[in-house]
Subunit: 251 residues, 2 copies
Protein backbone atom coordinates (compact mmCIF):
# COMPACT_ATOMS: atom_id res chain seq x y z
CA UNK A 1 0.00 0.00 0.00
CA UNK A 2 1.44 3.36 -1.12
CA UNK A 3 0.21 6.64 0.35
CA UNK A 4 0.47 10.08 -1.21
CA UNK A 5 0.14 13.36 0.65
CA UNK A 6 -2.28 16.05 -0.52
CA UNK A 7 -1.49 19.61 0.54
CA UNK A 8 -5.12 20.46 -0.16
CA UNK A 9 -8.40 18.56 -0.33
CA UNK A 10 -11.41 20.52 -1.52
CA UNK A 11 -14.49 19.90 -3.62
CA UNK A 12 -13.84 16.17 -3.54
CA UNK A 13 -10.41 16.61 -5.15
CA UNK A 14 -6.96 15.90 -3.64
CA UNK A 15 -4.14 18.15 -4.85
CA UNK A 16 -0.58 16.77 -4.79
CA UNK A 17 2.44 19.06 -4.78
CA UNK A 18 5.34 18.75 -7.23
CA UNK A 19 7.27 16.25 -5.09
CA UNK A 20 4.32 13.94 -4.44
CA UNK A 21 3.14 14.26 -8.04
CA UNK A 22 6.59 13.38 -9.35
CA UNK A 23 6.73 10.31 -7.11
CA UNK A 24 3.23 9.27 -8.16
CA UNK A 25 3.51 9.94 -11.91
CA UNK A 26 7.24 9.78 -12.78
CA UNK A 27 8.51 7.19 -10.32
CA UNK A 28 5.48 4.94 -9.89
CA UNK A 29 4.12 5.74 -13.38
CA UNK A 30 0.51 6.15 -12.30
CA UNK A 31 -1.78 7.40 -15.03
CA UNK A 32 -5.21 9.08 -15.06
CA UNK A 33 -7.78 6.51 -14.03
CA UNK A 34 -5.48 4.64 -11.64
CA UNK A 35 -6.74 4.12 -8.09
CA UNK A 36 -4.45 5.80 -5.54
CA UNK A 37 -4.58 6.36 -1.76
CA UNK A 38 -4.09 9.88 -0.47
CA UNK A 39 -3.75 11.28 3.06
CA UNK A 40 -4.45 14.84 4.12
CA UNK A 41 -1.90 14.76 6.96
CA UNK A 42 -4.71 15.57 9.39
CA UNK A 43 -5.95 12.02 9.98
CA UNK A 44 -8.06 11.14 6.93
CA UNK A 45 -7.27 8.66 4.18
CA UNK A 46 -8.92 9.14 0.80
CA UNK A 47 -9.36 6.30 -1.69
CA UNK A 48 -9.11 8.17 -4.98
CA UNK A 49 -8.97 7.92 -8.71
CA UNK A 50 -6.14 9.86 -10.35
CA UNK A 51 -7.80 12.34 -12.72
CA UNK A 52 -4.86 14.58 -13.67
CA UNK A 53 -1.45 12.87 -13.98
CA UNK A 54 0.50 16.11 -14.40
CA UNK A 55 3.99 15.27 -13.01
CA UNK A 56 4.17 18.60 -11.15
CA UNK A 57 0.56 18.97 -10.06
CA UNK A 58 -1.41 15.73 -10.00
CA UNK A 59 -5.03 15.69 -8.89
CA UNK A 60 -7.18 12.81 -7.67
CA UNK A 61 -10.94 12.44 -7.32
CA UNK A 62 -12.11 11.25 -3.91
CA UNK A 63 -14.08 7.99 -4.11
CA UNK A 64 -14.32 7.23 -0.39
CA UNK A 65 -12.85 8.46 2.89
CA UNK A 66 -11.41 6.70 5.98
CA UNK A 67 -11.32 9.09 8.96
CA UNK A 68 -8.78 8.36 11.70
CA UNK A 69 -6.77 6.04 9.44
CA UNK A 70 -3.75 4.60 11.29
CA UNK A 71 -4.58 6.62 14.38
CA UNK A 72 -3.75 5.71 17.96
CA UNK A 73 -6.00 5.92 21.06
CA UNK A 74 -3.95 8.62 22.82
CA UNK A 75 -2.48 12.05 22.24
CA UNK A 76 1.25 12.13 22.87
CA UNK A 77 3.22 15.35 23.12
CA UNK A 78 6.91 14.52 23.19
CA UNK A 79 9.33 17.27 24.10
CA UNK A 80 12.97 16.44 23.48
CA UNK A 81 16.14 18.51 23.39
CA UNK A 82 17.85 18.20 19.99
CA UNK A 83 21.09 16.22 20.17
CA UNK A 84 24.53 17.50 19.21
CA UNK A 85 24.48 14.99 16.36
CA UNK A 86 21.51 16.00 14.23
CA UNK A 87 21.17 12.52 12.65
CA UNK A 88 20.31 11.11 16.06
CA UNK A 89 17.45 13.56 16.57
CA UNK A 90 16.12 12.97 13.07
CA UNK A 91 16.26 9.23 13.72
CA UNK A 92 14.14 9.86 16.83
CA UNK A 93 11.62 11.84 14.76
CA UNK A 94 11.28 8.91 12.33
CA UNK A 95 10.93 6.24 15.02
CA UNK A 96 8.53 8.23 17.22
CA UNK A 97 6.37 8.85 14.14
CA UNK A 98 6.34 5.13 13.31
CA UNK A 99 5.29 4.26 16.87
CA UNK A 100 2.79 7.09 17.15
CA UNK A 101 3.26 10.66 18.35
CA UNK A 102 1.14 13.78 17.85
CA UNK A 103 3.29 16.75 18.82
CA UNK A 104 7.07 16.77 18.57
CA UNK A 105 8.59 19.68 20.46
CA UNK A 106 12.30 20.47 20.03
CA UNK A 107 13.22 21.89 23.42
CA UNK A 108 16.22 24.07 24.16
CA UNK A 109 17.31 23.47 27.72
CA UNK A 110 19.63 25.64 29.81
CA UNK A 111 22.24 22.89 29.41
CA UNK A 112 21.59 22.15 25.72
CA UNK A 113 24.70 22.29 23.57
CA UNK A 114 22.54 22.70 20.48
CA UNK A 115 20.82 26.08 20.85
CA UNK A 116 19.42 26.31 17.31
CA UNK A 117 17.30 23.76 15.46
CA UNK A 118 15.81 23.98 11.97
CA UNK A 119 12.64 21.95 11.59
CA UNK A 120 12.38 21.60 7.79
CA UNK A 121 14.18 18.26 7.57
CA UNK A 122 12.36 16.87 10.61
CA UNK A 123 9.04 17.80 9.02
CA UNK A 124 9.98 15.96 5.82
CA UNK A 125 11.07 12.93 7.85
CA UNK A 126 7.79 13.00 9.80
CA UNK A 127 5.80 13.08 6.54
CA UNK A 128 7.83 10.22 5.04
CA UNK A 129 7.55 8.09 8.19
CA UNK A 130 3.81 8.80 8.41
CA UNK A 131 3.26 7.49 4.89
CA UNK A 132 5.65 4.57 5.39
CA UNK A 133 3.93 3.44 8.59
CA UNK A 134 0.47 3.80 7.03
CA UNK A 135 -0.92 6.69 9.04
CA UNK A 136 -2.99 9.64 7.85
CA UNK A 137 -1.99 12.17 10.48
CA UNK A 138 1.46 13.78 10.34
CA UNK A 139 2.85 14.69 13.76
CA UNK A 140 3.22 18.42 14.28
CA UNK A 141 6.90 19.37 14.55
CA UNK A 142 6.95 22.54 16.60
CA UNK A 143 9.42 25.35 16.17
CA UNK A 144 12.07 24.99 18.88
CA UNK A 145 11.45 26.80 22.16
CA UNK A 146 13.04 26.87 25.58
CA UNK A 147 12.01 24.41 28.26
CA UNK A 148 10.75 27.29 30.39
CA UNK A 149 8.75 28.81 27.53
CA UNK A 150 7.14 25.44 26.78
CA UNK A 151 6.20 24.88 30.41
CA UNK A 152 4.84 28.40 30.86
CA UNK A 153 2.98 28.32 27.53
CA UNK A 154 1.57 24.81 27.59
CA UNK A 155 0.76 24.59 31.25
CA UNK A 156 -0.26 28.06 32.40
CA UNK A 157 -2.59 27.71 35.33
CA UNK A 158 -2.40 23.93 35.36
CA UNK A 159 -2.94 22.32 38.73
CA UNK A 160 -1.52 19.05 39.92
CA UNK A 161 -2.44 15.92 38.01
CA UNK A 162 -5.29 14.12 39.76
CA UNK A 163 -4.42 10.39 39.63
CA UNK A 164 -7.20 8.35 38.09
CA UNK A 165 -8.98 11.45 36.83
CA UNK A 166 -9.43 10.59 33.18
CA UNK A 167 -10.02 14.24 32.32
CA UNK A 168 -6.55 15.05 33.53
CA UNK A 169 -3.53 14.92 31.30
CA UNK A 170 -0.50 12.96 32.42
CA UNK A 171 2.65 15.02 32.35
CA UNK A 172 5.97 13.24 32.80
CA UNK A 173 9.52 14.52 32.98
CA UNK A 174 12.43 12.09 32.68
CA UNK A 175 15.66 13.18 34.27
CA UNK A 176 18.71 11.65 35.89
CA UNK A 177 20.23 14.25 38.17
CA UNK A 178 20.48 13.40 41.83
CA UNK A 179 19.36 16.60 43.55
CA UNK A 180 15.81 15.66 42.57
CA UNK A 181 13.26 17.33 44.81
CA UNK A 182 10.81 14.48 44.23
CA UNK A 183 11.25 10.70 44.16
CA UNK A 184 10.97 9.14 40.70
CA UNK A 185 8.77 6.24 39.64
CA UNK A 186 9.21 4.25 36.44
CA UNK A 187 7.47 5.55 33.32
CA UNK A 188 5.76 2.16 33.13
CA UNK A 189 4.27 2.61 36.61
CA UNK A 190 3.25 6.21 35.89
CA UNK A 191 1.42 5.15 32.71
CA UNK A 192 -0.19 2.08 34.28
CA UNK A 193 -1.91 4.26 36.89
CA UNK A 194 -3.32 6.70 34.33
CA UNK A 195 -6.78 6.26 32.83
CA UNK A 196 -6.79 9.23 30.46
CA UNK A 197 -5.39 9.55 26.96
CA UNK A 198 -3.50 12.87 26.93
CA UNK A 199 0.18 12.28 27.72
CA UNK A 200 3.13 14.66 27.66
CA UNK A 201 6.71 13.48 28.18
CA UNK A 202 9.79 15.69 28.41
CA UNK A 203 13.30 14.38 27.68
CA UNK A 204 16.27 16.55 28.52
CA UNK A 205 19.55 17.27 26.72
CA UNK A 206 22.77 15.26 27.13
CA UNK A 207 23.56 17.48 30.12
CA UNK A 208 20.07 16.88 31.55
CA UNK A 209 17.56 19.51 32.64
CA UNK A 210 18.76 22.20 35.02
CA UNK A 211 17.44 22.04 38.59
CA UNK A 212 15.46 25.21 37.85
CA UNK A 213 13.82 23.64 34.82
CA UNK A 214 12.96 20.51 36.80
CA UNK A 215 11.51 22.53 39.67
CA UNK A 216 9.35 24.55 37.28
CA UNK A 217 8.12 21.31 35.68
CA UNK A 218 7.15 19.93 39.07
CA UNK A 219 5.25 23.13 39.84
CA UNK A 220 3.42 22.64 36.51
CA UNK A 221 2.22 19.20 37.64
CA UNK A 222 4.89 17.07 35.96
CA UNK A 223 5.58 13.67 37.50
CA UNK A 224 9.30 12.81 37.66
CA UNK A 225 9.94 9.42 36.07
CA UNK A 226 12.87 7.20 35.18
CA UNK A 227 13.18 5.03 32.09
CA UNK A 228 14.65 2.00 33.81
CA UNK A 229 18.10 0.92 34.90
CA UNK A 230 19.94 1.54 31.62
CA UNK A 231 21.64 4.83 30.89
CA UNK A 232 20.06 5.75 27.57
CA UNK A 233 21.20 8.33 25.05
CA UNK A 234 18.86 11.31 24.68
CA UNK A 235 17.29 10.05 21.44
CA UNK A 236 17.04 6.49 22.79
CA UNK A 237 15.28 7.80 25.89
CA UNK A 238 12.82 9.74 23.73
CA UNK A 239 11.98 6.74 21.55
CA UNK A 240 11.75 4.53 24.65
CA UNK A 241 9.23 6.97 26.11
CA UNK A 242 7.20 6.83 22.88
CA UNK A 243 7.35 3.02 23.04
CA UNK A 244 6.20 3.04 26.68
CA UNK A 245 3.07 5.01 25.70
CA UNK A 246 2.58 2.81 22.62
CA UNK A 247 2.63 -0.32 24.83
CA UNK A 248 0.38 1.27 27.47
CA UNK A 249 -2.45 1.55 24.93
CA UNK A 250 -1.63 -1.58 22.91
CA UNK A 251 -4.61 -3.90 22.49
CA UNK B 1 31.79 7.73 34.38
CA UNK B 2 34.06 6.41 31.61
CA UNK B 3 34.50 2.68 31.00
CA UNK B 4 37.39 0.98 29.25
CA UNK B 5 37.32 -2.52 27.81
CA UNK B 6 39.99 -5.07 28.74
CA UNK B 7 40.57 -7.88 26.25
CA UNK B 8 42.18 -9.83 29.08
CA UNK B 9 42.00 -9.81 32.85
CA UNK B 10 44.44 -12.08 34.67
CA UNK B 11 46.50 -12.00 37.83
CA UNK B 12 44.63 -8.95 39.03
CA UNK B 13 45.66 -6.95 35.96
CA UNK B 14 43.41 -5.57 33.17
CA UNK B 15 45.04 -5.40 29.71
CA UNK B 16 43.76 -2.77 27.27
CA UNK B 17 44.28 -3.11 23.52
CA UNK B 18 45.78 -0.36 21.35
CA UNK B 19 42.47 1.35 20.68
CA UNK B 20 41.32 1.42 24.30
CA UNK B 21 44.81 2.38 25.48
CA UNK B 22 44.97 5.25 23.01
CA UNK B 23 41.58 6.52 24.16
CA UNK B 24 42.61 6.21 27.82
CA UNK B 25 46.14 7.64 27.56
CA UNK B 26 46.21 9.87 24.44
CA UNK B 27 42.64 11.22 24.38
CA UNK B 28 41.76 11.31 28.08
CA UNK B 29 45.40 11.78 29.17
CA UNK B 30 45.23 9.29 32.03
CA UNK B 31 48.59 8.62 33.67
CA UNK B 32 49.95 5.82 35.87
CA UNK B 33 48.31 6.05 39.27
CA UNK B 34 44.97 7.38 37.93
CA UNK B 35 41.85 5.48 38.98
CA UNK B 36 40.00 4.03 35.95
CA UNK B 37 37.00 1.74 35.50
CA UNK B 38 37.41 -1.30 33.28
CA UNK B 39 34.92 -3.90 32.00
CA UNK B 40 35.74 -7.39 30.82
CA UNK B 41 32.81 -7.54 28.41
CA UNK B 42 31.52 -10.59 30.27
CA UNK B 43 29.61 -8.79 32.99
CA UNK B 44 32.19 -7.62 35.52
CA UNK B 45 33.33 -4.08 36.25
CA UNK B 46 36.77 -3.56 37.73
CA UNK B 47 37.71 -0.45 39.67
CA UNK B 48 41.39 -0.13 38.85
CA UNK B 49 44.51 1.92 39.16
CA UNK B 50 46.36 2.55 35.90
CA UNK B 51 49.83 1.07 36.35
CA UNK B 52 51.21 1.21 32.78
CA UNK B 53 50.12 4.19 30.65
CA UNK B 54 51.66 2.86 27.44
CA UNK B 55 49.47 4.40 24.68
CA UNK B 56 49.35 1.11 22.77
CA UNK B 57 49.17 -1.34 25.67
CA UNK B 58 47.97 0.14 28.93
CA UNK B 59 47.59 -2.02 32.02
CA UNK B 60 45.56 -1.43 35.17
CA UNK B 61 45.70 -3.02 38.60
CA UNK B 62 42.37 -4.32 39.91
CA UNK B 63 41.38 -2.70 43.21
CA UNK B 64 37.81 -4.03 43.48
CA UNK B 65 35.28 -5.84 41.31
CA UNK B 66 31.55 -5.36 40.66
CA UNK B 67 30.02 -8.55 39.17
CA UNK B 68 26.87 -8.17 37.06
CA UNK B 69 27.46 -4.44 36.61
CA UNK B 70 24.68 -2.85 34.53
CA UNK B 71 23.04 -6.23 34.03
CA UNK B 72 19.35 -6.90 33.44
CA UNK B 73 17.09 -9.55 35.04
CA UNK B 74 16.45 -11.47 31.82
CA UNK B 75 18.28 -13.11 28.94
CA UNK B 76 17.15 -11.76 25.57
CA UNK B 77 18.09 -13.40 22.31
CA UNK B 78 17.03 -11.13 19.47
CA UNK B 79 17.10 -12.54 15.96
CA UNK B 80 16.65 -9.94 13.23
CA UNK B 81 17.14 -10.02 9.47
CA UNK B 82 19.69 -7.36 8.40
CA UNK B 83 18.08 -4.49 6.51
CA UNK B 84 18.94 -3.43 2.96
CA UNK B 85 20.27 -0.20 4.45
CA UNK B 86 23.09 -1.29 6.75
CA UNK B 87 22.94 1.91 8.84
CA UNK B 88 19.47 0.93 9.98
CA UNK B 89 20.62 -2.45 11.26
CA UNK B 90 23.65 -0.93 13.00
CA UNK B 91 21.34 1.61 14.61
CA UNK B 92 19.25 -1.30 15.90
CA UNK B 93 22.39 -2.94 17.34
CA UNK B 94 23.23 0.25 19.22
CA UNK B 95 19.73 0.80 20.58
CA UNK B 96 19.11 -2.83 21.55
CA UNK B 97 22.45 -2.80 23.39
CA UNK B 98 21.48 0.36 25.28
CA UNK B 99 18.14 -1.16 26.31
CA UNK B 100 19.60 -4.57 27.13
CA UNK B 101 20.10 -7.60 24.91
CA UNK B 102 22.32 -10.66 25.31
CA UNK B 103 22.48 -12.36 21.93
CA UNK B 104 22.08 -10.53 18.64
CA UNK B 105 21.50 -12.93 15.77
CA UNK B 106 21.62 -11.62 12.17
CA UNK B 107 19.15 -13.90 10.41
CA UNK B 108 19.02 -14.52 6.68
CA UNK B 109 15.43 -15.28 5.70
CA UNK B 110 14.22 -16.86 2.49
CA UNK B 111 12.87 -13.42 1.54
CA UNK B 112 15.87 -11.40 2.77
CA UNK B 113 17.28 -9.04 0.16
CA UNK B 114 20.54 -8.85 2.11
CA UNK B 115 22.05 -12.36 1.97
CA UNK B 116 25.48 -11.45 3.38
CA UNK B 117 26.27 -9.62 6.59
CA UNK B 118 29.67 -8.77 8.09
CA UNK B 119 29.61 -8.53 11.87
CA UNK B 120 32.81 -6.56 12.57
CA UNK B 121 31.18 -3.13 12.62
CA UNK B 122 28.20 -4.38 14.62
CA UNK B 123 30.57 -5.83 17.21
CA UNK B 124 32.37 -2.49 17.54
CA UNK B 125 29.02 -0.69 17.87
CA UNK B 126 27.89 -3.18 20.53
CA UNK B 127 31.12 -2.57 22.51
CA UNK B 128 30.77 1.20 22.23
CA UNK B 129 27.08 1.15 23.23
CA UNK B 130 27.86 -1.19 26.14
CA UNK B 131 30.41 1.24 27.55
CA UNK B 132 28.26 4.28 26.82
CA UNK B 133 25.22 2.80 28.58
CA UNK B 134 27.32 1.69 31.57
CA UNK B 135 27.13 -2.07 31.23
CA UNK B 136 29.87 -4.64 31.73
CA UNK B 137 28.55 -7.35 29.42
CA UNK B 138 28.84 -6.90 25.67
CA UNK B 139 26.03 -8.61 23.73
CA UNK B 140 27.23 -11.47 21.56
CA UNK B 141 26.81 -10.63 17.87
CA UNK B 142 26.44 -13.97 16.14
CA UNK B 143 27.70 -14.73 12.68
CA UNK B 144 24.73 -14.58 10.32
CA UNK B 145 22.80 -17.77 9.71
CA UNK B 146 19.58 -18.74 8.01
CA UNK B 147 16.28 -18.65 9.86
CA UNK B 148 15.94 -22.41 9.40
CA UNK B 149 19.48 -23.09 10.68
CA UNK B 150 18.86 -20.94 13.75
CA UNK B 151 15.58 -22.69 14.55
CA UNK B 152 17.03 -26.15 14.01
CA UNK B 153 20.20 -25.37 15.95
CA UNK B 154 18.79 -23.40 18.86
CA UNK B 155 15.62 -25.34 19.38
CA UNK B 156 16.36 -28.94 18.54
CA UNK B 157 14.03 -31.10 20.53
CA UNK B 158 12.25 -28.17 22.18
CA UNK B 159 8.70 -28.82 23.15
CA UNK B 160 5.90 -26.31 23.31
CA UNK B 161 6.24 -23.43 25.76
CA UNK B 162 4.35 -24.21 28.95
CA UNK B 163 2.62 -20.98 29.98
CA UNK B 164 3.43 -20.02 33.56
CA UNK B 165 6.26 -22.53 33.72
CA UNK B 166 9.16 -20.37 34.82
CA UNK B 167 11.68 -22.97 33.69
CA UNK B 168 10.41 -22.58 30.16
CA UNK B 169 11.83 -20.07 27.75
CA UNK B 170 9.45 -17.76 25.93
CA UNK B 171 9.96 -17.82 22.18
CA UNK B 172 8.20 -15.20 20.10
CA UNK B 173 8.04 -14.63 16.37
CA UNK B 174 6.70 -11.35 15.00
CA UNK B 175 5.28 -11.43 11.53
CA UNK B 176 2.67 -9.67 9.44
CA UNK B 177 1.62 -12.00 6.70
CA UNK B 178 -2.02 -12.98 6.57
CA UNK B 179 -1.89 -16.70 5.84
CA UNK B 180 -0.90 -17.15 9.50
CA UNK B 181 -1.65 -20.65 10.70
CA UNK B 182 -2.02 -19.38 14.27
CA UNK B 183 -3.77 -16.30 15.72
CA UNK B 184 -1.42 -13.62 17.02
CA UNK B 185 -1.46 -11.95 20.42
CA UNK B 186 0.36 -8.72 21.25
CA UNK B 187 3.98 -9.02 22.41
CA UNK B 188 2.88 -7.14 25.54
CA UNK B 189 0.28 -9.83 26.34
CA UNK B 190 2.72 -12.64 25.58
CA UNK B 191 5.34 -11.18 27.94
CA UNK B 192 2.81 -10.36 30.68
CA UNK B 193 1.82 -14.03 30.93
CA UNK B 194 5.41 -15.25 31.21
CA UNK B 195 7.09 -15.79 34.56
CA UNK B 196 10.52 -16.88 33.35
CA UNK B 197 13.50 -14.82 32.28
CA UNK B 198 14.73 -16.44 29.04
CA UNK B 199 13.16 -14.70 26.04
CA UNK B 200 13.81 -15.10 22.32
CA UNK B 201 12.22 -12.83 19.71
CA UNK B 202 12.52 -13.20 15.95
CA UNK B 203 11.98 -10.27 13.58
CA UNK B 204 11.73 -10.95 9.85
CA UNK B 205 13.10 -9.12 6.81
CA UNK B 206 11.29 -6.33 4.92
CA UNK B 207 9.58 -9.09 2.93
CA UNK B 208 8.62 -10.92 6.15
CA UNK B 209 9.28 -14.57 6.99
CA UNK B 210 8.23 -17.16 4.45
CA UNK B 211 5.26 -19.34 5.40
CA UNK B 212 7.68 -22.28 5.67
CA UNK B 213 9.90 -20.39 8.12
CA UNK B 214 6.86 -19.38 10.19
CA UNK B 215 5.52 -22.94 10.24
CA UNK B 216 8.90 -24.28 11.37
CA UNK B 217 9.02 -21.63 14.14
CA UNK B 218 5.57 -22.68 15.36
CA UNK B 219 6.70 -26.32 15.43
CA UNK B 220 9.68 -25.17 17.53
CA UNK B 221 7.32 -23.69 20.11
CA UNK B 222 7.36 -20.07 18.95
CA UNK B 223 4.34 -17.96 19.83
CA UNK B 224 3.21 -15.68 16.97
CA UNK B 225 2.93 -12.09 18.17
CA UNK B 226 2.20 -8.67 16.73
CA UNK B 227 3.87 -5.42 17.77
CA UNK B 228 0.73 -3.30 17.79
CA UNK B 229 -1.29 -1.43 15.19
CA UNK B 230 1.57 0.50 13.57
CA UNK B 231 3.42 -0.83 10.57
CA UNK B 232 7.01 -0.66 11.78
CA UNK B 233 10.20 -0.87 9.77
CA UNK B 234 12.28 -3.99 10.42
CA UNK B 235 14.79 -2.21 12.66
CA UNK B 236 12.04 -0.32 14.47
CA UNK B 237 10.22 -3.58 15.13
CA UNK B 238 13.40 -5.12 16.53
CA UNK B 239 14.07 -2.20 18.89
CA UNK B 240 10.38 -2.13 19.88
CA UNK B 241 10.63 -5.82 20.80
CA UNK B 242 13.75 -5.09 22.90
CA UNK B 243 11.84 -2.24 24.58
CA UNK B 244 8.86 -4.53 25.28
CA UNK B 245 11.13 -6.96 27.14
CA UNK B 246 12.91 -4.06 28.88
CA UNK B 247 9.54 -2.75 30.14
CA UNK B 248 8.33 -6.23 31.14
CA UNK B 249 11.14 -6.52 33.69
CA UNK B 250 11.33 -2.83 34.63
CA UNK B 251 11.17 -2.24 38.39
Amino acid sequence: MELFYAYEVSGGVCYLDAEESGHCVRVLRHRAGDPIDVIDGLGTLYHCSLVDDAPKGAQAQVLSTVPGFGGHPYHLTLGCCPTKNNDRFEWFVEKATELGVDDLVPLIGERSERRVYKTERAQRIALSATKQSLKARIPAVWEPLSVKSFLEMAHQGDGEVVPGDDRASLKLIAYCFEEASAPRISIREALAGFTGTDVTVLIGPEGDFSPEEARLALRCGYVPVHLGASRLRTETAAVTAAAAVYFRYMQ
